[in-house]
Amino acid sequence: MPAETFLVAAALLPFLGSVAAALLPRDARNAAALLAGVVTLASLACIGALYARVSAGPVVWILDWLPTLGVGLTLRLDGLAWLFAVLVLAIGALVVLYARYYMSAQDPVPRLFSFLLAFVGAMLGIVLAGNLIQLVVFWELTSVFSFLLIGYWYDNRAARDGARMALTITALGGLCLLVGMILVGRIVGSYDLSVVLASGDAIRSSPLYLPALVLILMAALTKSAQFPFHIWLPRAMAAPTPISAYLHSATMVKAGIFLMIRLWPVLAETDAWYWIVGTAGMATMLVGAWSAIFQHDLKGLLAYSTISHLGLITLLLGLNSPLAVVAAIFHTVNHATFKASLFMAAGIIDHETGTRDMRRLSGLWRAMPHTATLAMVAAAAMAGVPLLNGFLSKEMFLSEAVDNVGDHPVQLALPVLATVASAFTVLYSLRFIRQTFFGAAPHDLPKAPHEPVRWMRLPIEVLVLACIAVGLVPNLTIGPALLVAARAVFGGATPDYDLAIWHGVNAALALSMGALAGGVGLYLAFGRRINNNPRGGPWLMHRLDGGWMFERAMTGLVRGARWLEGALGATRLQAQLRTLFLVALIAGLSAVLAGGPAAVPSVPLTGIDPAFALLWLVGGACAVGAAERAKYHRLSAVILTGGAGLVGSLTFVWLSAPDLAVTQLLVEIVTTVLLLLGLRWLPKRDEAIVAPPDETRRARRRRLTDLVVAAAVGTGLAGLAYAVMTRPAPEGIARWFIEAAYPQAGGRNVVNVLLVDFRAFDTLGEISVLGIVGLTVFALLRRFRPAADSLERPRQQLRQEAADRAHADRAVGDTATDAMLIPAVVITWLFPFVCVLALHLFLRGHDLPGGGFAAGIALTIAFVLQYMAHGAQWVEERLRIRPIAWIGVGLLVAGVAGAVPWLFGRPFLTAAFQYAEVPVLGKIPVASAVAFDLGVVVLVVGASVLMLVALARQSLRRAREAAVEQDSRLETRA
């Protein structure tokens, strides 16, 4: 099998395993663990098998994904990737084994393993990324799966909060990483890692170097929990311990380190790199170590210790020395082994005793000697005790610290601070061991401690063995892999180094021993006081609690966002509408002004007719009157609006638009009836009662603003209208319609021909609107419930009926019937005449003013008049109309009329027009558009009758309901 197959299999297997695990039943513990273990080991085997190939050069496999962006799935296994992949998979396999026994029987373990495998896949994706963007993709995926894993015990509030915090901070880094990578891609011209790695000089000399560097480091530092972004890591410890061990100590946090190593050849060896990375590493190392000292929780101690060690590695990378990079890689591996084993040990202690609080634990040596031994070895490795792996890399670190003392005064402190941090490490390692395993026998623990099952200890044994093996014979164990990794980073420029245990007495050894001694001394001096520190937080940094600040910041962010949203937005309709008009005004005005001064009118204008001016005086007065009266005198306002509408119609007549006049008049009538139907259900409003005694100044000011806005919009629209009308008309499409209407479409009324033929598609849409509105109105009114104060029947009717009751010779309702007696007779007999008018408007509309819509509205008015004269009940006993069906028929008729031309191979809505020669009658024009227009009529009648009748029926319904209610009230009283 080719190497690429192994590579692809290694990358793909974890994801497949993840899906498979997700499908397992919740209690399939063993199956899930077995699956996870097999998948991880198989993947490890695949990677392992490629070792020989990798020593020769990277194995690359490419899958196109977004070729236009130069982004694909490129698996690229070189030495560095190999080392990290093995680390990820090997520790992964051990964690799986451990987790199998750690997780309780109640836990739905398949979910855990599913997420864990997905995480393994994502991590491998980072490590194997041969494309910068692909790296970003998997980078964010690790954040996501980490989130899911931290939140595994989601009932636990700490788990939820920890998961969110981790995701927020690491996702922020990921977003920065994306931008940073894109900048690198811009500089290099490719996202391909091999190309990028060959372009170090171009990158470092680019003006975009600094932004790219800062952005990429944002990602690396957040992911690797570097100060001040480290705050998420301790909180991530709310995850189950195997997860903490794996993600938040051994692997995921190393993604940041990996990224810095990966791009070290192209980004490092500049001052910016030195100061940013170095400072971050130093600060993190010290803060982490200092904080670790004061933890009472085992996992807390390990978490801060992890932070400190990550700082150490980062500091190494920041030193701009290839040798330091090698040390960093080495320490990364070492840290992973001893820290994972320590976490597992802590987990066992927690598992077997029920607590992780070092103040309650003591003397566990007796109960679990085996575990205690393992933990002690691992802790010694962490403390840098000779003959263990931690010692080797720690010594390399100290040696680099000494070698890289620069000229800057701050740089002089490097060895000192490095030693201090090492001493702190010794201190907390010692405390960990001493407090947990030694001292008096434990009492009052939640569980009686004993050794865990054999298999749970095995992973620790393996890891501790590794610590010892590497510590004893580094060249036989880690040596070759480290070399391959270093070669992958530096190529031919790989520095010489020596992994020997003994380098003779040198400065590094002295510092190392000093740190050991210092740590022990510090513990002896302060151990008791540290244990008695009740708060658990570190001295000096007590008040600087990152988690608290983060939560505060998040809460503040949400509150601030809400405030800003309120300040920049508007929830009140009036404010929204004001904004709308103002913006439109500004937009229109600025466009006009930008277009230059208006040209002098050059067209002959129609002379001013005084009658027309007077007409508009009436119109204006009606409009202003309506605006003024609409609040307290709604009926007047309706009347005046009617007047304004009439002036509009007259204007249409005057200015050669008879169709518009007819339609506007009809619509005007129906609208008035509609408004009045609605008025019935609105609250009574009386100026004397409602108007506030003294209007506030703010209200007055708002009204003034509104007045200004209204006047400005009016002026604007008037100005635009005048400007356009005084300009010569463009030679547009109008002429063609006038010329083609009769010869090509067989109609003399060009407007109607436009509506039913040239632009019949508009009309189809228009009637759809009408139908939709009818349906909506119907739906709303079916559920309509009036406000309490409108429920009662109108005052007038109650009074009239009371009067009827008072008269012996009158029946209830006589007054109402008598009042409508004459109108009812007239209106009944008008019905057929209106029908004929509608027929006329419909049939002659093609040649004269009218058309389907006007006809439909006229018919509607005929119906509504009957309703007004006789009441809903009377009409519905006689005329059974099903308006909704009419809407449907209208749509279908219009649609079918439009589609029939398909049969003749013509496009939709193609109209046919012909003169039919009929004996006796002579030549008769036949236009198929009439069929279309028939659909319009039917729909218009259906929709408008539906709206009016649905509204009108409310009174009927309410009256009936009110009567029923009254009856029931009487019943309850009796």
């Binding site: 007719d609 005084p610 009658a611 027309f612 007077l614 007409l615 005086l617 009436v618 007065a621 009606c622 009157g625 009926l635 007047s636 309706v638 009347i639 005046l640 009617g642 007047g643 009439l646 002036v647 119609s649 007259l650 007549v653 008879p658 006049a661 007819v662 008049l665 009809l666 009538i669 008035t672 009836v673 009045l676 139907l677 019935r680 029947r793 109108p794 005052r795 007038q796 009717q797 009239q800 109402a816 009042a819 109108p823 008008l830 005449f833 209106v834 008018l837 004269l848 003013p849 006229a858 008015i861 509504v864 008049l865 309703y867 007004m868 809903a872 009108a952 009174s955 009927l956 009256a959």
Partner: protein, 94 residues
């Protein structure tokens, strides 16, 4: 004086008078004082508007204004009827 001039001036004047009548009726609609006065005003505005439409048809010699006038004559009362009924019964359709 030609027929055209005569018609132009005479009918223009007639139309002016009708619009003036509209204006007076509109004044009543604006002033009230009672709602019935306003409705009456609107009814008169409609009436005179219709007549003005007819005279406009005469002025322009076009029969195309006829439909508009007919619509007012036959259906224009519906709006005022609705208003009157609203005053009388408190609702338009029972």
């Amino acid at each position: 004086m030609s027929a055209a001039t005569l018609l132009a001036w005479g009918l223009g004047l007639a139309q002016g008078m009708l619009v003036l009548a509209m204006a007076l009726a509109a004044w009543r609609a604006l002033r009230g004082p009672r709602a019935q006065d306003r409705v009456l005003g609107l009814d008169t505005v409609y009436l005179n508007g219709m007549l003005a439409i007819m005279v406009h048809g005469l002025r322009t010699g076009s029969g195309l204004a006829f439909e508009a006038a007919l619509v007012v004559a036959l259906l224009g009362f519906a709006a005022t009827l609705a208003l009157a009924k609203f005053l009388m019964q408190g609702e338009v359709i029972q």
